[in-house]
């Protein structure tokens, strides 16, 4: 069943086109993550779904019903904002109970429901306290509880983890996913953090400058990015992108990246069919570059190790090949020092090729 459907939604704020032709559907009980850099239009998109901002063009359907002209309160949607909205002069209990009181429920029923949701979110100790004594994560959970007691079937969360400490953020994202599953909610969640998106999303929409560039399951956005932007945005450390030119000499076709070249004679038909010109962009992910002290084969490229960053379970190595800097992910045991010569090899089956003009993916894997 389709819970939420957007068709061709566009929005201009002042003179700026904030959203352009946004189209997607979410399934029932799906955790759908909208991810993109600040200014991509994520918050505006949520506000349009909630009915807080009118749209210029397009249609919004909730449970197969057109809701363009419905008031926010009539849409049956819960929304939690980036800065959680709670009443500062009321205790946790009063905050959570408020929507139930408005509904006109009896005291015992309210108490039962408040405790149920509080126990689930592990905030029973906060019920007697007022919001100014909460930490950021606790405040977030109380705000969430207040929305959850209304048992919305669709929940919109705008960067709910943004203001939390790194470590708490990691825990909260797992908690949110657990909650979404157990309550069986369709959840739309925005974030600027691709790791968060990839980690908990059933599907994710990657947004850039008001446009959704790809909607897919997380693995697909990582393994088959449709555009240069998605390739660069998803994955940490970022994908290496190197400009190159498709050239032919004596029947041999190569991708010439100035500092190194890759033979693609057997793929030339495919590349020529999908590209708009000879100017291309070659992409390779840091884990797909192997680094060694000695050349491993004829394809090895000589490089200089510029910098290493230890991450604990692995290391980031920055390698200079002529004027190009490539980032590789190496095991923590990797033991070359900075300034030393190294040899790198790119996994051909994991190379990406994009068109420079359209920035669209031409092919993935140059085998």
């Amino acid at each position: 069943m389709v819970k939420l459907k957007l068709v061709n939604v566009s929005k201009k704020i002042r003179k700026e086109q904030v959203l352009r032709g946004i189209t997607f559907e979410t399934g029932d009980k799906e955790l759908f993550v909208v991810v993109g850099p600040p200014g991509a239009g994520k918050t505006t998109l949520l506000k349009i779904i909630a009915g807080l901002v009118p749209l210029d063009e397009g249609e919004v359907y909730i449970r197969d019903e057109l809701v363009n002209y419905k008031l926010p309160a009539e849409r049956g949607i819960g929304m939690v904002f980036e800065t959680p909205a709670v009443y500062p002069n009321r205790t946790g209990y009063e905050n959570i109970a408020f929507p139930l009181k408005v509904k006109g429920l009896g005291d015992t029923e309210i108490k039962k429901q408040v405790y149920e949701v509080a126990e689930f979110l592990q905030i029973t100790h906060l019920l007697d306290r007022k919001p100014h004594t909460y930490s950021g994560g606790e405040l977030q959970r109380v705000a969430l509880a207040r929305v959850l007691v209304r048992s919305p079937s669709i929940l919109l969360l705008d960067e709910p983890l943004k203001n939390l400490d790194a470590k708490i953020r990691e825990r909260m994202r797992v908690e949110l996913k657990r909650l979404q599953r157990e309550f069986g909610i369709t959840m739309i969640f925005t974030t600027h953090d691709q790791l968060e998106a990839v980690a908990i999303g059933d599907r994710i929409a990657v947004m850039n400058k008001g446009v959704i560039e790809q909607v897919d399951v997380p693995e697909k956005t990582y393994n088959f990015p449709k555009t240069v932007f998605v390739g660069r945005f998803i994955g940490s450390p970022s994908m290496n992108l190197v400009d190159c030119t498709l050239r032919e000499t004596n029947g041999q076709w190569v991708l010439d990246a100035t500092e190194f070249a890759i033979d693609v004679t057997h793929l030339k038909d495919q590349i020529l069919a999908k590209s708009t010109g000879p100017e291309l962009i070659l992409g390779t992910r840091p884990p797909d570059i192997s680094v060694a002290e000695k050349p491993l084969s004829e394809q090895s490229i000589e490089a200089v190790l510029e910098l290493t960053e230890a991450l604990g379970s692995e290391k980031i190595a920055e390698l200079r090949v002529g004027s190009v800097i490539l980032t590789a992910l190496v095991p923590p045991t990797f033991d070359l020092s900075m300034g030393e010569k190294a040899y790198i090899e790119l996994k051909r089956e994991k190379l990406y090729l994009f068109d420079k003009k359209t920035e669209n993916l031409i092919t993935c894997g140059l085998t």
């Binding site: 850099p37 450390p237 992910r285």
Partner: protein, 361 residues
Amino acid sequence: MAKLVVRNLRKLFGHFEAVKDVSFEVSEKETLCLLGPSGCGKTTTLRMIAGLETPTSGYIYINDVLVNDVSPQKRGIGLVFQDYAIFPHMSVFDNLAFGLKVRRTPKHELTVKVDETARLLGLSDVLHESAKGLGLSEIQRVAIGRSIILDPKILLLDEPLSNVAAKVRERMRGELKRIQREIGIATVFVTHDQLEAMVLGDRIAVMKDGLIEQIAEPDEVYAHPHTLFVADFIGSPSMNLIECELLEKEDRVFLDAKDFAIDVTEFAETIKKKVTGPELIMGIRPEDLHMSIKKIDPKAIRGEVQFIESLGSSSIYHLKVGQKPILVKGLLEVEAGDKVWVTFDLKKLHLFDKKTEVAVW
């Protein structure tokens, strides 16, 4: 020679003891990261070094001179704030030159210094542009440049990357590391992000409740955490921490975690010497656990996949072993609901005393 020495630093705000007893040294060209959750006292410590807070007790030495009573501007410190605080209406040149102008530096000397600093930080091309139009990474460089142009003895950075989007932060972190190596000034860096600390610090001081729990090189903190808190805080995803009991049965010694037990007979003596009781907590990092669909190791433990968080190149598997949630990092073709076998290397196991929360092995 230590550039900065902090001895028994303590700070009370009313009845609240923000910093209890903090001591460390930073040597020349070294970067020390103060790492901890919000409220651990790291920023207060930094502000005391800068002279923006007065210590309740304790001593601060810069270049072997006691500076407790020296005013902030005379301590020879460069401070870079969270939001960088550069002047948007001035050009990059004027931003960099500001401190020198205040000091009435002669014009020719000022120009030479600004040029030198701009070159060091790669700002020569934008030197005469207005700061308003700069990108974040350039703003960061201007903010650092404005501090180092005054030749500070120590550079203090207060969560400089915290207001930046995740993707940009990653890039700026690398750049900051490069700048640090170029300028080679003793630096104290405050952050709540363990990854940032791992990358940028030559050493890390992990703080909790106003105290330093461990101070060591990043690899050391990661591989040999001294306390339960450090073990939990460093590393992402977090280390699995499982309550267990030291149990002797028929000449063998086990760590009994109810849902499974691990034979530790060969290490029993070392463990027993250090513990205060039989209640322990074992720790194992998600990447040190291995999963398989078939049982390969006879000692493998049965678990069920609850759900999977994708990291792109690998995944975090949330397993349930008996009643216990366990995280495994790796890459295996399984789905939620599947049963798997989990093994690990005893050498990678950490063990903490439950009462003292100190590592015993």
